[in-house]
Subunit: 303 residues, 2 copies
Amino acid sequence: MTTLGNIGEHEAIRILTAKLGGHPELRTGTGDDCAVVKIPGTETDQVLTTDPVVEGVHFQSSEKPERIGNKAVGRVLSDIAAMGATPQWVLVNIVAPPEQDFQALGKIYDGIHALCTRFGATVIGGDLAQGPCLELHVFGTGTVPAGKALLRSGARPGDCIFVTGPLGCSRSGKHLDFVPRVEEGIFLRETGWVNAMMDISDGLATDLRHILKQSGVGAVLETEQIPTVGSLECALHDGEDFELLFTVPKEYAELLRSRWRERFGREVFKIGWITADLGELLLRQPDGSLHGLEGKAFEHFSG
Amino acid sequence: MTTLGNIGEHEAIRILTAKLGGHPELRTGTGDDCAVVKIPGTETDQVLTTDPVVEGVHFQSSEKPERIGNKAVGRVLSDIAAMGATPQWVLVNIVAPPEQDFQALGKIYDGIHALCTRFGATVIGGDLAQGPCLELHVFGTGTVPAGKALLRSGARPGDCIFVTGPLGCSRSGKHLDFVPRVEEGIFLRETGWVNAMMDISDGLATDLRHILKQSGVGAVLETEQIPTVGSLECALHDGEDFELLFTVPKEYAELLRSRWRERFGREVFKIGWITADLGELLLRQPDGSLHGLEGKAFEHFSG
C-alpha cells in the first residue's frame, strides 16, 4: 500500500488534481496561491482559496486562542495578497471535540474577526463539526481587475527577486502573529511591474522553486542580501514567514524600491535574480562563488 | 468551563456568529443553507457554502472511498440546490494521517469529480494537511439571478409544505449515495412560486423548525402524507435525507404538482401547511387529532 506519508504533500496534490478538467471561465486552477476565475459581464476576476490549520500540526493546544484565529485567517488573506487581490468574503469551518472550551472558541473567532475587519474581509458563513482535535478550515475570496492577478508563472530571465520582509521568524512565534501583506500585494500589482508573485509559507527555498518550475526559469540568490532574523539556514528553510516573494524586470527594480519606501516607510529587499537555467537554484556567496542549493523542500507528511 | 458539548452545535453557531457584522453587498449571511452576496455590476448573486465530513462522525473508515467523496461534495451541492442556485466552483481541503492509503484518496477524488461533473461544478483548488483522521472540507459557490435565492425566512401562513422525496432513508446508506436536488432546486426557483426552501440534513422536524423560526410562523404536518421509507419516526428525525423542503402559496400547490410531474416524471409530496402560530409544530393524525411534536432536535456534539 502506498501511503500519503510515502508520497508527500506536493506530489499527492499534483497526482490528485491532474485529473481535474478546465472551464472557459477558469483562468488559473490549482498550483497557485489562489484559483482565479472570471466574473462574466464585469472587468473583475475572483480569486478563491482555502487553508487548514490543525492542532498539533500548525499550532499547539496551549496556544492563545486569538493567535490561532489570527493564523487561520491570516494564511488565507496572505494567499489572496499573493495574487495582488483585495480580500472580500470568508467562511470558517471549525472541527472540535465535545470537550472543547467554548470560551476559547469565542476568542478564536475574535482573532478571526479582528484580522478580517482590518483588511476589509467579512465572515459570512461556515460550519461546526465534531472531530478528534481542534481544526480551522478557512475559505476566502477576493477580487482583482480582470487578467491582472499576479501568478507564480510569470518570472522572466533577468528579473530581480524581492521579498517584503525579513525571513526565518516563524520559530520565534511569528507564524501565529504575522500580518498578511495585503496592502503590499495590492500596491505591487498596481505598479504594473511585477512579473510573478507568491507568499512564503513553506520557506524561501521551497517556495522560490515553485516560481522557477512554473515559470520555466532558474535563480541565483545572493546570501548577504537575504534579510534574516536568525541564521541564513532558517531564512532559506523555515516555513510560515508569510512575506511576499516577487520578481520585477531589472529596469524597474530601483524605481520600485524608492516607490516602496515612499509608500510604506521601510525597505523592500532585493535578494537575487532570475536566470534562464530551468529549475536551477544557486547561492552566491559574498566572495562571488556559486553553489547549488540542496533540495531540502519543506514537506508536510514527511516523517 | 463551558464546553461545546454542553452548548450544542446550533446554539454555539448562534453565539459565535452574533458578533459578525454586515456588508452592503451581503444579502444573507449565516443562518441559511448558503450565504448570498451581490456581484456588483451584474444581475447575478453568488451563493457560498462549506461543509465538513469527518471520519467516525459522518462516515466510517471502512466505507467505499467513492461514496465518501460523493457525500462530501453532495452536501455542498445540496446546500446550493436549496437556494435554487446553479453550482459553479468547488475547493476541497483534505485532512489525513501520514498512513492514509493514497489509492483510496484517489478514489475519493474520483467520487468528488464525478458528482461535480454531473452538475456542472468544477474543482479549482484545495489543500492537503496532516491530521489524526480523514476529513474532507468542501467549499462551493454557485450563481442565482439577483435577489432570487430561496431563503428559509420566506414562509407565509397558508403556504403548503412540500418535500421532493421520501424521508428516513439515511440509515439504509442513502446518506452516502444521495443525489443532490440541483435540477429540482433550479426548477422550483424558476416557477416563481416558492416562498421558502432548505435541504433536509438534520431531519424533517429539526429543519422545518429552522424555517418556522426564521419565517416567524408555525406548521401542521399531516402524518399520513409524509412519504416514508421506514417509520414515521425515522422520517421525522433521521438526518441526511438531502431532499428539499419548501413552501408554496396554496393557490399554486396543484399547479406545482402537475408541472413537477411533467418535468420530472414523478411525484412531489405535499405534507402539511404553514400556520400563524409562531414556532408551533403540530402533527395531524388521520383521525383529525392534533398534537405537538416534541423538540427532539438533531444536535451534533450531544452525548
